[in-house]
Structure formats: structure tokens, C-alpha cells
């Protein structure tokens, strides 16, 4: 893992990451996922398939959930990004994080950061009305452990608290 937060031979971008303005230098072919994990040590966002199929790399870009593995970092110039590291308020967990613990919504936990960011993005969209809607709206996040029913419980229990909330 590199200690330097930027690649000196790259191109300059500025973005707001978990509320903090950052000036960075990135190569055009660096994905947002690799920028977060390899250059910024934000390893909460996970690399699963690296092809947009599993959702483990889901982050919020300008309040919308996206796959960081299929996003070029250089195209995020000027954007607001929220990763799992920016979801809690200091030491107090976000209600959705708390609900994942209470509902035992994971086994290995690898998909969890993506599940949580995806559910936050889903809440921002404000389109789900039922448990079946949540299932469909969370279909871009796979859980190989098969903790789906508990993930669904955690999201469903928390949705009234975060539904329609302001975009981060």
C-alpha cells in the first residue's frame, strides 16, 4: 500500500470525499475503486468481481449509488463521494449500520459496505414501498454467504428512519 495519497505523474482532480475536500492526482485508467483502496487506504469499499456484477464496491457519487469498479476516478472531478467510512457520525453508527448488527445481516461481511451504501442510495431514490420492492432494488448487491433475509430485515426496519432523507 502506497503512503503517497496521489500519483505524481497523474492528472489533477479535486473532489469531496466523506465531507473532506481532496486534491488528488490520478492516472486516467485508475478506477474510483482502486483510487479509494490503493491510493487513499479506504479499504472499506471492497473489490469483489471488478466487473459491476456483485455490488461490493458500491459507493455514493453525488448521493447516487454507483459501482466504483466501473467508474474512472478522473471522471469524478468535482464530485461528492461517500464511502462506508463516511456513513457513521464519529463513533456513533448510522441507524442502518446498527440494524445490520441487530439483525445479524452478515456472515463474512465482505459485501456489507456495498449493501449499506446501496441501501442508502435506494433510500435517496425514494421509490420503494414494499418488502418486494426492496428485494428488487437491492438486486445489484450479491451476498455469497446468503444472508439475504437478514439483510432485507435490517434494511426494511431502517427504511422509515432514512427514507427520503437528504442526499449526503
Amino acid at each position: 500500500m502506497s503512503d503517497t495519497p496521489t500519483d505524481p505523474s497523474g492528472q489533477a482532480i479535486s473532489l469531496t470525499l466523506n465531507g473532506t475536500p481532496r486534491q488528488l492526482q490520478v492516472q486516467p485508467w485508475t478506477t474510483l475503486l482502486d483510487l479509494l483502496r490503493e491510493q487513499l487506504d479506504l479499504t472499506g469499499t471492497k473489490k469483489g468481481c471488478d466487473h459491476g456484477q456483485c455490488g461490493a464496491c458500491t459507493v455514493l457519487r453525488n448521493g447516487r449509488r454507483v459501482n466504483a469498479c466501473l467508474t474512472l476516478a478522473i471522471m469524478c472531478d468535482g464530485d461528492q463521494l461517500t464511502t462506508i467510512e463516511g456513513v457513521a457520525d464519529g463513533d456513533s453508527l448510522h441507524p442502518l449500520q446498527q440494524a445490520f448488527i441487530e439483525h445479524d445481516a452478515f456472515q463474512c461481511g465482505y459485501c456489507t459496505p456495498g449493501q449499506i451504501c446501496s441501501a442508502l442510495g435506494m433510500a435517496n431514490e425514494g421509490r420503494v414501498r414494499s418488502r418486494d420492492d426492496i428485494k428488487e432494488a437491492m438486486s445489484g448487491n450479491l451476498c455469497r454467504c446468503g444472508a439475504y433475509s437478514n439483510i432485507l430485515d435490517a434494511v426494511e426496519a431502517t427504511l422509515p428512519l432514512i427514507h427520503g432523507g437528504p442526499r449526503p
Binding site: 467508474t71 474512472l72 478522473i74 438486486s139 445489484g140
Partner: protein, 328 residues
């Protein structure tokens, strides 16, 4: 990914000036970056078009809609005018990909996504679409997901889009701008059949940019249905999909549209079938006759004969649902 040069022009003319055989436009990037990671495409230059003013949906003088090429799939599916007047398009978009990908993917890019034929995606196998003349392992290999209509000896791949099936049924027009000027392409002519040049998915030249998709005035807002049949309930490509739309006078069909996905190298439509339905009763007999006619020339491969029966049943069901929508 192989290193490449990156540019972000702020005008269409500036973007077009950067085009070349080894350059690609990028907007959502959901398919292009995936292809680049697999080394199936190795452009030397990416032209980021997300700074161009192509992100609006507006009404046309003809009473239709002009959809900017950069409007995201999610924004388009949930646009109030689309939900209200073109529910077939909303349904089709929401049947595709995942919420994350729909947030990223653009309207123009959706038209340009490439087949998910497993041989095309496996660089260790021959593929006429990837390397013209190298052969088609799908023809005699695993071809459960492949074409039953319009295929050729050199390619049996299918077009993967859901959105495009609805756009075909709605008779959209593709607005294109190139160095030589602007042109409009009927949706039926935009994508091509493989013939002996399957490397070309569509009629677009490398120095042309899709700027917008135009929809004619709404005609089927009351009676339409998009039915997608796939191996799992969500987040999978279609085995068969059907865009069915009806204009009804009581129980009689005034006009009909029918397009199939998952069956050919392009969204499959036959206007003669739609004309046959005009003036007929909106009944299962009429819908079965339409299915018979549309599928008359279907030819199965070793593993996909099931698609013909499946498509037949899906057409009847989609039309039946379409006839019932909007009826209390």
C-alpha cells in the same frame, strides 16, 4: 486496463474533432470499461462526453420527447413524462441491469452496449465479432442464450438491451452528429444483422456521436407491457423479452406494436405482423396468430429450441397484459 489518453471536451464539435479509429466516447462507462478490463477493447484515447450539454429531456413540437444522449437510464425510467406517456419504456429500462448500473449508464450508451455472448467475452476463443474471420464457436458450441432469428453463419449473438426493445416498438429515431453534419436514423435501421460482418453492431461510424433519441407523440400510453423472461428474477439478461403495445377501440385493435429481445442481433420487429393485427379483436387468438407469424422463420440452434415456444407464450401473455392495462 491498457493505458490511454483522456480528454474531456466541452462542446460537441470539440468532441468530434478528437475522434479516430482508436478513440472511444465514454459516458457511463459500464460496458466500455468492462470490455477494456478484459482487453476486448483497447482504445488509445477516451473522449469523456459527460461535459456536453446532452442531459435534458424535452418535449418536441410534434408532441413527442427528445431525450439527450447523456440522460441516465434511471433518470429516464423515472422521468414523469416517460412514466406517464411511455410506460413501456420505463418498464423496459427498469427490467435491465442493477440500480447502480442504471444510475451510471447513459441513454446513448445503452444502444451501443455489446453482446454478452460468452465466446465474444472470452478472448481465448475465436469470435468473428472480435476478430473477423476467426470463426464462431457458439454456432456448434453452447448456444442456449443465442439467436433464433436473423442469425448468420458467422454470428449467432443477440443484442443484450432491454431499453432498445421498447425503443424499437415505439419507433424512436436516433439523432446523430458527425464531422459531416447531423443525421437521423430510424430505430429499425440503427442496429444491424450480423451477415458476414458481425464486427459491426450498428450503422454508426466511429466519428459519429449519438446526441439524442426522439420519441414520436405517445400512442400507446394506455395499453403496453414489457415482459422479460430470464434465468433469475432480477439482474439477468433476457432469454426472451417482449415489448407489446396496443391502441384499442373497445375490444378492437386500432394499431399494434411488437418487438422481441433476446432473439436476434438487434431488437426484432416485423411491421407486417402489426398490420395483420389491425382491426382484429384483442383476443388470445389474435395474439397467437401474431406470435405464429413473427416466429415463422425462427431457426433453433442445438440448445435453444425452447426459446421459440417461450417467445410464443411470452408474446401472447405480453399482449394480454397490455390489453388489460388501464382497464379498471
Amino acid at each position: 486496463m491498457t493505458p490511454f489518453q483522456y480528454s474531456k471536451p466541452t462542446s460537441i464539435d470539440a468532441a468530434l474533432a478528437l475522434t479516430g479509429p482508436q478513440a472511444r466516447f465514454i459516458a457511463g462507462g459500464t460496458n466500455l470499461l468492462d470490455l477494456m478490463k478484459e482487453n476486448l477493447d483497447q482504445p488509445e484515447h477516451l473522449i469523456d462526453i459527460t461535459g456536453l450539454p446532452l442531459d435534458q429531456v424535452s418535449q418536441t413540437e410534434a408532441g413527442g420527447l427528445l431525450i439527450g444522449a447523456l440522460v441516465s437510464n434511471a433518470d429516464l425510467a423515472w422521468h414523469p413524462l416517460v412514466e406517464q406517456s411511455y410506460p413501456l419504456l420505463s418498464q423496459a429500462i427498469l427490467a435491465g441491469a442493477s440500480p447502480q448500473l442504471r444510475n451510471m449508464a447513459s441513454t446513448g450508451g445503452n444502444l451501443l452496449q455489446r453482446t454478452r455472448c460468452y465466446y465474444f467475452y472470452d478472448a481465448s476463443t475465436p469470435c468473428n465479432k472480435r476478430e473477423p474471420g476467426s470463426g464462431c464457436p457458439a454456432r456448434d458450441g453452447l448456444n442456449r442464450i443465442h439467436a433464433i432469428l436473423g442469425a448468420s453463419g458467422s454470428c449467432v449473438a443477440v443484442h443484450p438491451s432491454d431499453m432498445c426493445v421498447a425503443l424499437a416498438a415505439l419507433e424512436a429515431r436516433v439523432h446523430v452528429q458527425g464531422k459531416a453534419g447531423v443525421r437521423q436514423i430510424d430505430f429499425a435501421d440503427f442496429h444491424r444483422l450480423p451477415g458476414d460482418s458481425p464486427q459491426r453492431d450498428n450503422q454508426l461510424a466511429y466519428d459519429e456521436l449519438i446526441t439524442a433519441i426522439e420519441l414520436p407523440a405517445p400512442q400507446f400510453s394506455q395499453h403496453s407491457h414489457y415482459l422479460k423472461v430470464r434465468d433469475r428474477e432480477s439482474y439477468a439478461f433476457a432469454l426472451i423479452s417482449v415489448a407489446a403495445a396496443l391502441e384499442l377501440d373497445g375490444d378492437n385493435i386500432v394499431s399494434a406494436r411488437l418487438a422481441l429481445g433476446g432473439v436476434a442481433h438487434k431488437p426484432w420487429r416485423n411491421p407486417a405482423v402489426e398490420q395483420m393485427l389491425q382491426g382484429r379483436a384483442a383476443s388470445s387468438e389474435s395474439f397467437a396468430a401474431a406470435a405464429d407469424m413473427l416466429l415463422a422463420d425462427a431457426k433453433p440452434l442445438a440448445h435453444n429450441a425452447f426459446k421459440i415456444k417461450l417467445a410464443h407464450a411470452a408474446i401472447v401473455r405480453a399482449f394480454t397484459e397490455a390489453a388489460a392495462t388501464g382497464v379498471a
